[in-house]
Assembly symmetry: C2
Homo-oligomer: 169 residues x 2
DNA sequence: ATCGATGCAAACGATTTGCAAACGT
DNA sequence: ACGTTTGCAAATCGTTTGCATCGAT
């Protein structure tokens, strides 16, 4: 997402929604933010520019930002929801079958977010990572009817070729 | 954790807490459960054994189970909290500073849980894994007053020695 | 002029807590 | 007997919504 602001305007137009001063104030405050933001923070930021905004509008606007794929919610606990700018990350991690050597790529935003926040808490800034899970696929475990995800996709095991399946989890 | 029930009794005694029928009913219902459980589920399960229990008691008991390390909460969204039996895993993952080469060990039950459920969804059974985060510590990023967690703990960077700090995150 | 957006306050659902009574030690 | 635990209801928290009004197109 090279230009989130443009993406936002496009989204509004596509949906037949309107550009209002309070929405702009909230969106600007959000995009200006780095890391996690609480809605209360957005409210006070937005109020500096447009003092009449209410909390409900912030909720409504952030929900739109989520739908537009610009904001991502992180739930840390009951009543502890923070939002962050959804970066166009394309990480993929690996699931490797010990038996057939097959590799499945998978993605998990939740894991990405957790590892980032874990690192941040320890004072670290994560640049890249490696996350590999080793285990056995259904076939290798002898499960009736189970299949190796790689084989199931029509590939031969241990081929060393790129993974045949991508799972979003 | 070979015997959760024993661990639970020990925990109660250590803390000077009491064993009550409703607690037992709730704990049994929880330990009998597999996967994720909602508190409402625990309530109705527990009520089959001890009909007078209230929801507040379930909340209070599950909080104790968390403190005892027996239960783990999963927050799926606002108002969508499920609990699962915490397995006694002792994984530790690594946070590696690109600048000083220092390694911090960290643990995150949440990440463990997520990666396992991700794998499970793809038909895998995870036996072991490697999870390494590469990045920069505060000192390496030139943050005023920031320190490399390794250096802060009194170790020399790039020593190749075991990590000096463990972070539970 | 039309139709969506806003602010406010009330509604809502999940979680917590105050309190007097009941229970385990 | 003592201090903890319980159930209940009320309180609290974050979040959503109804509605009359306002604003953007």
């Amino acid at each position: 997402m090279p230009d989130p602001k443009r993406h936002w305007r496009d989204y509004l137009e596509r949906k037949g929604l309107k550009t209002t001063q309070q929405r702009e104030a909230i969106v600007d405050a959000f995009l200006r933010s780095s890391g996690h933001v609480a809605l209360e923070d957005l409210l006070s930021s937005a109020r500096r520019k447009y003092p009449r905004v209410g909390l409900a509008t912030v909720y409504r606007t952030v929900k739109l930002l989520e739908e537009a794929g610009i904001a991502a919610a992180r739930h840390f606990g009951p009543g502890q929801t923070l939002y962050e700018v959804a970066e166009g990350r394309a990480h993929h991690d690996h699931l490797i079958c010990d038996a057939c050597g097959f590799i499945i790529e998978f993605e998990s935003d939740e894991i990405e977010q957790l590892q980032d926040s874990a690192a941040r808490r320890l004072g670290f800034n994560v640049l890249r990572h490696r996350h590999e899970l080793f285990g056995l696929c259904e076939r290798a475990r002898g499960i009736a009817g189970g299949s190796c995800p790689g084989l199931a996709a029509g590939r031969q095991p241990n081929s060393g070729a790129p993974p045949s399946r991508r799972g979003r989890v």
